[in-house]
Point group: C2
Chain length 123, copies 2
Amino acid sequence: MRIGDLSAATGASARSLRYYEEQGLLASTRSGGGQRHYPSTAVDRVSLIQSLLSAGLNSAAILDVLPCISNEAIRTPWLADRLTSELDRVNKQIEDLHRTRDILAGLVEEYRVDQPRSQETAS
Amino acid sequence: MRIGDLSAATGASARSLRYYEEQGLLASTRSGGGQRHYPSTAVDRVSLIQSLLSAGLNSAAILDVLPCISNEAIRTPWLADRLTSELDRVNKQIEDLHRTRDILAGLVEEYRVDQPRSQETAS
DNA sequence: CTTGACCCTCACACGGATGTCAAGTTTTAG
DNA sequence: CTAAAACTTGACATCCGTGTGAGGGTCAAG
C-alpha cells in the first residue's frame, strides 16, 4: 500500500507517517520512482506508535522500546528497566487521570442536581 | 502568601503561577509595590489547575470550567455540556491509556520470562 | 541606609508532533 | 500521450506551557 492508503487506514496524516519514518519508527520500501510502499502489517505498527505517542512517550522513547517487539535479540536488561519505567509513568498518569475524572464527574453530578436535564452520558 | 510561598506549596514554578493569572485562572491581590499576594485557598486552586492541565485541558478550557466551582450563578446548560464533553474526553483518554499500559506490561512480562532477574517493580 | 533575598515585567527560546506551502516527480486513468 | 491525482523533499509555521535572562523594583533585617 502507498502512503495515502496507510494514512486512510490509520487516521495518521501522510506528514506524520513520513515523520515516523524519519524517526526510525516505521520502515518502507520505495518504488522505482521513490514512492513509499508499506506492507499491510504497517497498519498495526502505526496504531502501536499512535498509542505510545498518546501515552506520552516521545519518538525517541518509542524507538528505544519498539524494536523489542520485532527483534528478540536486542532485549538487554537496560531495555527491561526502560520498559518498566515507562510503564510506571503510564500507571501514574492513569492514576492522575482518574483523580481528574472524579473532579469533573463530581462537577457534572453537582450540576445535574441543580438543573435536572439528564443526558445519560454514562461512563 | 507571596508567589515564592505558593510556588513552594504547590510545586508550580513562579513563571507558571504568573501564567495562570495571565490566563485568568488564578487571582491575586497586589501589595503597594506591586507584588502578588495570595490567600491560602490558592494552594487548592493551583492543584486543581494542575490536575486539569495534566488531564489535557488547555487553559482556555479550564477557564470555561473553573468558574462553576467558585460561582454558582454562571452555571448555564452550555457549561454542563462542556463539562460532560471534557469528562468524556478524559474517560476515553483513560481507556486508551489502559490499553497502552497493557501493551507495555505485556512487554515487561514477556521480557521477565526470558531473563529472570526479578526487580519486583510491582504495579 | 544598606544589603540580600525576593519579586516585577518584558521578551525570547524550546520541545515535538503536526500543519502547510512550494516546486517538482511519479503514477494512473482516459 | 496527456491530464489529474498522488507522491516527493524541504522548509517554515503553529500550539502552549514552561524555562530563562535582562534590567530594575520591593521588602525585611541589621
